[in-house]
Point group: C2
Chain length 212, copies 2
């Protein structure tokens, strides 16, 4: 069922489908049509069917999709091993913010270790997770094989760290820095989150409201 050639926009829509289907399941609905899904997604029934066809179609269209089947299939696509292990680099304020988010707001993601280069905090805890010396990152990853690394350091530090990240063998990066890791190594799988950019775009839009 897993198709490695699914396009990024389709992959990025999967969590939104999953959210909606989770709600439908919780409300006791058993079937949902591509039209209903399209309204939620702000797309078209044909787009929904095209998206689902990337993953084998998820069952018959004529009578609507089974909510339980959709839930199970998409959950399995998103978390095939039930959970993923993560480590975080950068125990500063952004790192604390994101560690807190992962620990309190995500299921299926286990934050196992935090790394930093500041000798004053190495060995201490942040959100009850131990802070290790970033020099031990490669060994840690080779031994514990986390699924992803969360990057919470400034751009310059991220750029310096890129060869070390590659050496860890970890393929997935949740990147809050402004360094573009794919420039360094195209085989890295990177999701960039630029919270500040989102806030700046909002500021622009607030300040340039179209007069109606």
């Amino acid at each position: 069922m897993s198709n490695s050639k699914v396009s990024l926009p389709v992959i990025r829509r999967l969590p939104r489908y999953f959210r909606y289907i989770t709600e439908l399941k919780a409300s006791g609905k058993t079937r949902v049509s591509s039209s209903q899904l399209a309204i939620f997604m702000g797309s078209t029934p044909s787009q929904v069917r095209q998206d689902f066809n990337c993953f084998g179609g998820f069952g018959q269209q004529g009578i609507g999709y089974s909510v339980d089947l959709l839930y199970d299939e998409i959950e399995h696509l998103l978390f095939p091993n039930n959970h993923i292990d993560a480590v975080l680099i950068g125990a500063g304020s952004l790192g604390a913010t994101i560690a807190n988010f992962v620990l309190t707001e995500t299921e299926g993601v286990n934050l196992k270790a935090i790394f930093d280069n500041n000798p004053n905090i190495i060995g201490k805890n942040m959100s009850n997770i131990k802070i290790f010396d970033v020099n031990t990152l490669v060994n840690y990853c080779k031994e514990n094989k986390p699924d992803l690394i969360i990057i919470c350091i400034p751009k310059s530090g991220a750029e310096e760290l890129a060869p070390i990240i590659v050496e860890t063998g970890v393929k997935g990066l949740w990147n809050f820095s402004h360094y573009d890791f794919s420039v360094y190594d195209k085989s890295l799988i990177v999701e960039n989150v630029h919270l500040r950019d989102s806030l700046m775009a909002l500021s622009y839009r607030i300040n340039h409201v179209e007069e109606e």
Copy 2:
């Protein structure tokens, strides 16, 4: 110079331009070509010129753009009043996470007040910002006219709150809930941030790496 009909994708690229130009300025560069900007943006020189033409062009192309002029113009587009005032709704763990982010990682955004409906925390502080009763939100906003509201409550609460949000008269929402406010009122200016979706998309990609 402000053009109210600039498309959302162009607006969303502005902060990235601004980041790069900030770096160029810090490194002492005085001119930059559309080709250099295109490399950073992963686009084309023609796309860069098209984007800039939405805002009046930012000066001559033949000899490159002036870094100082680009910086000033784009900063003024993003923050025409130098700063924006924000309030946050939801003093739970996500709210604490985002309040911490705004206080430590953003410039130009002042977090002025936090609102919640939990009587046990109303009147207390979070990150040194006072927590008010959400029932006082409308009055607070009419009096203090914040530029944006940061939504850090679950979807059901956000849906319930939508009429109150509209009543505040605040147009800009930085929305971390999964409720789609534009369904309630199309005139609201909403930037949605779905951190969990980003993490799920990454989980999918890690687990379905294309074999090369």
